[in-house]
């Protein structure tokens, strides 16, 4: 069974707390989840939603229709009336006045004091879903911590009263089948997975300027900075953030910055500096709708072309676009590793949907990244040349102050020893040296993920966070007898045509599914291969691409 639970209410009602505890309870009980968080900005301010799509089996995409509406305020019922599925149930306060079979009206005031009403809602919903009360009590304790014994006792009382009350109600048909012997999994969102992936890869320095939806990367890292031995600094602006990261990296601390489109615009010159001085740095761009301030809390995939072309001048780069929480973890590692090996800026493109989307993931192997090659004394070297011309374009890297060799880097064009030059033949050699690193990066590109038959009637091409929705849409249609394949890019640059051209050419129809208005990946594929994907499913209303959205667009 798959259920979509949507909790709606005003900011400050403890909606995210309720959502997070319920989601964790579901994960601990062995279910699979996809969380979508959002503001309904078409309505007057302060309406938040926390949607949990839950399944006894695998679930990989969000869902629009709501089976279980938890309305913490009256508006929620009105706003989501048209989203309700035929089997829906609305859980709300008995005072909300509306009636009907599909309402479960909870006497919140009888069951607990007002400040525990989100725990009451949690208890009622958990009980209707058939979750174990002791497991939920433990999950509540883990969330709030047990330090305040009185608070813990009050929480338990509210939870028990709600569970007891819900037990007296007729069954609603929303009970989830129990998962026997559930595997231990993490509940993690995209930003948390990026932060932890970075730490596991040896990150030592993170500088950031707060910007939704990237901020929780910095917050997660700050929370673990002391124990993991890293520095997290909130910079005075994004320009400082990237330059600090470059300084730290130059001196040997593996560095990453995170921001969103507007902040990244300020980082542009720094990106170019990292390329010229061949300093490793990873830039995470968590996309949101733009231009300018746009829709700050919503989602979009509108910055692919921007990130691809950011930074003046010509230099190689890699851009990863994770499609799952696991990919957030592993591709952050890949980006850090490539940055260290190829000595330059590497990018990770996510968006608000994935950044805030909690899911159940199998525990990560925290195996070590191969030690960075920087910092060792080069045997027999008299005068070190930071930018020695090599066949691969990669120059042996030493760190300032770690050996007796002097390390000199310049944002001006420079000689092999790093000093400023206007010798135009050196300029030519240095351009070619930097670009040769691109050949190595190209040889390591992760091939796009092809699912389905190569001669499908329809091939859906996608990138980044829409991976689950596109795959699910194809699987659903295939189960109805259609022949649909998917081609998903989790690395969007460089493109290696040999990895995917045969798929594009052998499908009867190709459609590109993207969360932007230009069809930016489609344009990029055309530019790089000449292959023109004419049909596009585009979404740019600030909401994530869902299987339902794809069905609607395909039926047009």
């Amino acid at each position: 069974m798959i259920l979509n639970i949507l909790i709606g209410g005003e900011a400050g009602q403890g909606l995210v707390t309720l959502g997070q505890i319920l989601a964790k309870g579901l994960v601990r009980s062995g279910y699979s989840i996809v969380v979508t968080q959002g503001y309904q900005s078409r309505i007057r301010g302060g309406h938040n939603t926390f949607a949990i799509r839950v399944s006894t089996g695998e679930v990989i995409a969000p869902q629009e229709s709501v089976d279980f509406l938890v309305a913490l305020d009256k508006d929620t019922i009105n706003l989501h009336r048209t989203d309700l599925s035929p089997k829906h149930l609305i859980v709300c306060d008995e005072g909300f006045g509306t009636d009907g079979d599909s309402f479960l009206k909870v006497p919140f005031k009888e069951l607990a004091q007002e400040r525990f009403s989100n725990i009451v809602a949690l208890g009622v919903v958990a009980s209707l879903l058939g979750l174990n009360e002791a497991l939920m009590a433990r999950t509540v304790d883990d969330f709030f911590g047990k330090k305040d014994e009185r608070l813990a006792a009050e929480n338990h009382r509210a939870l028990a009263a709600a569970t007891r009350w819900a037990g007296t109600r007729p069954t609603s048909g929303h009970k989830l089948a129990a998962v026997s012997d559930p595997p231990q999994r993490f509940m993690m969102n995209g930003n948390e997975a990026i932060a932890l992936g970075a730490v596991s890869a040896g990150l030592r320095f993170h500088s950031f300027y707060p910007m939704t939806p990237s901020t929780s990367i910095g917050l997660t890292l700050a929370g673990h900075a002391k124990t993991m031995g890293l520095i997290v600094e909130q910079a005075e602006d994004e320009i400082a953030a990237i330059n600090m990261a470059i300084g730290a990296s130059f001196a040997g601390a593996s560095s990453m910055v995170a921001t969103s489109g507007g902040g990244f615009a300020l980082m542009g010159e720094g990106v170019s500096l990292a390329a010229m001085t061949e300093t490793p740095v990873v830039v995470v761009v968590a996309q949101r709708p733009a231009p300018a301030t746009g829709l700050p809390t919503r989602t979009e995939q509108g910055d692919l072309e921007f990130v691809l072309h950011s930074g003046h001048g010509e230099f190689p780069r890699a851009i990863f676009a994770p499609g799952t929480i696991e990919e957030c973890f592993h591709l952050t590692r890949s980006a850090l590793e490539l940055a260290e090996r190829y000595q330059g800026p590497m990018f990770l493109l996510t968006d608000q949907f994935l950044a805030d989307s909690y899911r159940a993931v199998m525990p990560f192997e925290v195996e070590k990244l191969s030690p960075a090659s920087a910092g060792t004394e080069l045997a027999g070297v008299k005068a070190y040349k930071r930018f020695a011309i090599t066949e691969s374009g990669i120059s042996p890297r030493l760190l300032p102050g770690v050996t007796k060799q002097l390390v000199v880097a310049d944002s001006d064009e420079h000689t092999e020893d790093g000093h400023i030059t206007e010798d135009l033949s050196v300029r030519r050699q240095m351009v070619e040296k930097r670009l040769r690193k691109g050949e190595g990066i190209q040889a390591e590109v992760i091939p796009p993920d092809m699912e389905g038959e190569t001669n499908a009637d329809l091939l859906m091409v996608s990138w980044g966070s829409s991976k689950g929705s596109v795959k699910e849409a194809a699987r659903v249609m295939n189960s109805q007898g259609e022949k649909i394949a998917t081609l998903h890019f989790s690395q969007v640059w460089p493109l290696v045509p040999g990895q995917f051209m045969s798929h594009l050419e052998s499908a009867r129809h190709v459609v590109c599914v993207e969360g932007n208005a230009f069809g930016q990946l489609a344009r990029l594929i055309r530019r790089e291969t000449g292959f023109h994907i004419k049909k596009k499913i585009l979404r740019y209303d600030g909401l994530p691409i869902t299987p339902e959205y794809i069905f609607r667009e395909l039926s047009h």
Partner: protein
Amino acid sequence: MVTIDDYGNYETAWCPGCGNFSILKAVKQALVASQVKPHEVLFVSGIGQAAKAPHYLNANVFNGLHGRSLPVATGAKLANQKLTVIVESGDGCNYGEGGNHFLAAIRRNIDVTLLVHNNQVYGLTKGQASPTSAEGFVTKAQPQGVPSAPFNPIEVAVAMRASFVARGFAGFIDELSELIQQGIAHRGFALIDVLQPCVSFNKVNTFAWYKERCEALPSTYDPTDWEAAMKVACKWGDKIPIGIIYRNARIPFEGHFPVLRKEPLVGRDVDQVMLKRIMEGYK
């Protein structure tokens, strides 16, 4: 034993008679007096004629973007606090393009010595006004004279209680060298604003102009007295005070990070056991 030869002797791209030559000499003298070895020093600079200075001595160098040397220096110092980090750049770089970073560096009190070659004009771009140009100063870009009031870095730094604020003059090489030496020894952010004649583009604030006005603070002057320092910091005109204007013993920025208590960040391995424990918290 570090000698002046260890820091090398290079041909420069500066105009004959430029104040930069004296500043470079004072820097080398200060490094020798501090007995810092070339590989232990990192010079970070921005863009401008002053920013080229680190290319003319033996040391680790990061010559970055215009205005952005302080963030780079901050990151480098946090990565390896064993490095002696010196930022050397001009008035346009530090007080104009990088103004926000100047304020942030003072607030952080990062252990970096900032050496500002302040010639009150833009040299590399051939003679436009700088943030420290006097009101009414005529240039090709400001033919009716500079319409804005000049930025007084010393006044701002003292007002913000920067932990080491000094002014030097390129014409007093030994005194300047002594200031740089003290700035390097100071644990925390040290601003040394160095008045420097520009022979090509500033025909007002010449060597003679500065020499006539620059006056060392009396030996009785107490740089730890903030109110007295504010008064001195505001002085600019017939007399320009030279020396350490203000200092205090604020904790340097690095001192706030428990992870830097023992060893630098650089060269550390990932603590697998701790990481696994953190991951368990997500179950």
